[in-house]
Amino acid sequence: MPVTNLMTFNVSRMEVMDLDGNVDAGLMPDLSPEQVAELYGIMVLTRRLDERMLKLQRQGRLGTFARVLGQEAAHIGAAYAMREGDWLVPAFRETGSFIVRGIPVERVLQYWGGDEWGQHFPEGSRVLPVSVPVGTHMLHAVGIGWAMKQDRERVAVLTVFGDGATSEGDFHEAMNFAAVFQAPAVFLCQNNHWAISVPYGRQTAAASIAQKAIAYGMPGIQVDGNDVFAVYRVVRDALDRARNGEGPTLVEAHTYRMADHTTSDDARKYRPPEETAYWQERDPLERLARYMRRKGLLDEAREAETLARAEAEVDRVVAAYEAFPAPPPDDLFAHLYAEMTPALRAQRDALLAALGEGE
């Protein structure tokens, strides 16, 4: 009778590659050298882009944006594990995922440059727009997952969010609905240890995000988020399970926000520099480069070449971005409804008339 143990739960962590780039052969995912090079190229491009965007922002040529420095392995490795037909439901710190999923990079800049057209992704891309309200979008992934299952499509949904997002009620509802409906969804938390100025330890008293899956009867796993192979491996397995009708998974990618929260933030106000130094040693890009050097997949020439290609692409992207025409004022009114309402038509006409007068 007395006190009985009802259940035991284990939470595990996966690492595939150590700091020096040595990998665990048993866990190493099956990636061709070309794929590894591609991954590396995307990570380099993402980092170059991030730096250039910062410059543009400082010069007033781009608006406030969320940098991804240090989180490349997490959100690129995860997106790389997706297959054709899978959906991506992002937050706002997944620039690299957009690149992986084929979103024209100039669109990303256009968006952060203050133009909604930056989120008019190519038809069929199955990538949702940036979601600014923290924690809200994971529910959409559940609904999309439900729809895919109902349509008997063998695809899965990857949704990405931060550690701060796990505090919102909508995170909870999304996890619960996903588990109850066995939605083919993978919940990837980029635990970068900060939500603006709030450190992980003030966000939750739980030792890991991964263990939060237990509350929903869902598998949860932590992964070294700066180890692109581990992230790829874990997310790929989770997406496979989702596609196979085995339900959702929570993946916690342990990573770190190396930059300020956004270009409006100054992390020196609240963050100890030692912490950044610790994570600097765990830099995901360097780690992958070490692996590749070991395997003979990278030498100085190829490194320089990759960098040059990235730079050229960034140049192209910035030029394309700056060539976008400003959206016309009546765009304000055109996309509220499939058909413009009489009130909106009147308001648009009044604005255009006033602008005409102004000329």
Partner: protein
Amino acid sequence: MADLNLVEAVREGLRQELARDRKVVVLGEDVAKDGGVFRSTDGLFEQFGPERVIDTPLAESGIVGMAIGMAVAGYRPVAEIQFSGFVYPAYDQLVSHASRLRNRSRGLYACPLVVRMPYGGGIRALEHHSESMEAIFAHVPGLKVVIPSNPYDAKGLLAAAIRDPDPVIFCEPARIYRAVRMEVPDEAYEVPLGEAKVVREGVDISVIAWGALVRTARQAAEQLAQEGVCDVEVVDVRTLSPLDTGTVLASVQKTGRALVVHEASRTGGFGAEIAAQIQEQALLQLQAPVRRVAGSDVIPPLAKLEDYFQPSMNLLVNEIRATMEF
């Protein structure tokens, strides 16, 4: 034709849409086996099964948020919120996402979603079960807001809402769920969104109402006609957003007097918008101020005080008289 009350009309509307389009699904708390606490989904689970008529966990933001995802992926979810007083947890999903996905993606994604909910008082219910908060939806660009006043419109407006490519808040006046029966066509039909209707013609004053109070307004009109006081025109707004300003204004331009009636509390209620528009566009035709007959600015009370809260037929009659005598 069948003789249906409002809840039956809603149910028939849902049934026909479920049958017409496999992308239509119904979801919410207790909508499946239980058939909804007002029985508005009764029998649908048995007919269409658990993949089309879906009981959800108890979480309104979850219901609407999940429905948004379904809509993005090509479905036509009809989400039920058990009472409109429980929609607030879903307000963020409605305002921050449902209303915006089309605009945010410049038309790439849309959100054809209906959120149905029993609405308003008059049923001697517990706290939070008698709310009339249409104003907080009608103020949100990107949403549509529909409130039927009778079984015929309920069925037709619901069909139109489900087929609409944009998100629609559909408020069903619980007070008249079973109060009136009406001949309703057996076949499916649409009552177009965005069109108000003159439900009683008159020449002296326009009473503008929606939901359960349309009936009260008509009763007041009949009484005043019998008493020979005045000939009241009653406009049933039906869709608050987008508002059919044309029909409202045409009526007021004809009668020269207007009264707006709603159960929601007065301050900041949608009656203010209609009154503001009337005087903005028809000031010179107005022979009296546009008065509002509305709920008081109080918490909808429990049963013992409920009758003091809602605009009664008598109050309406008095206010119409006052406007006529201005």
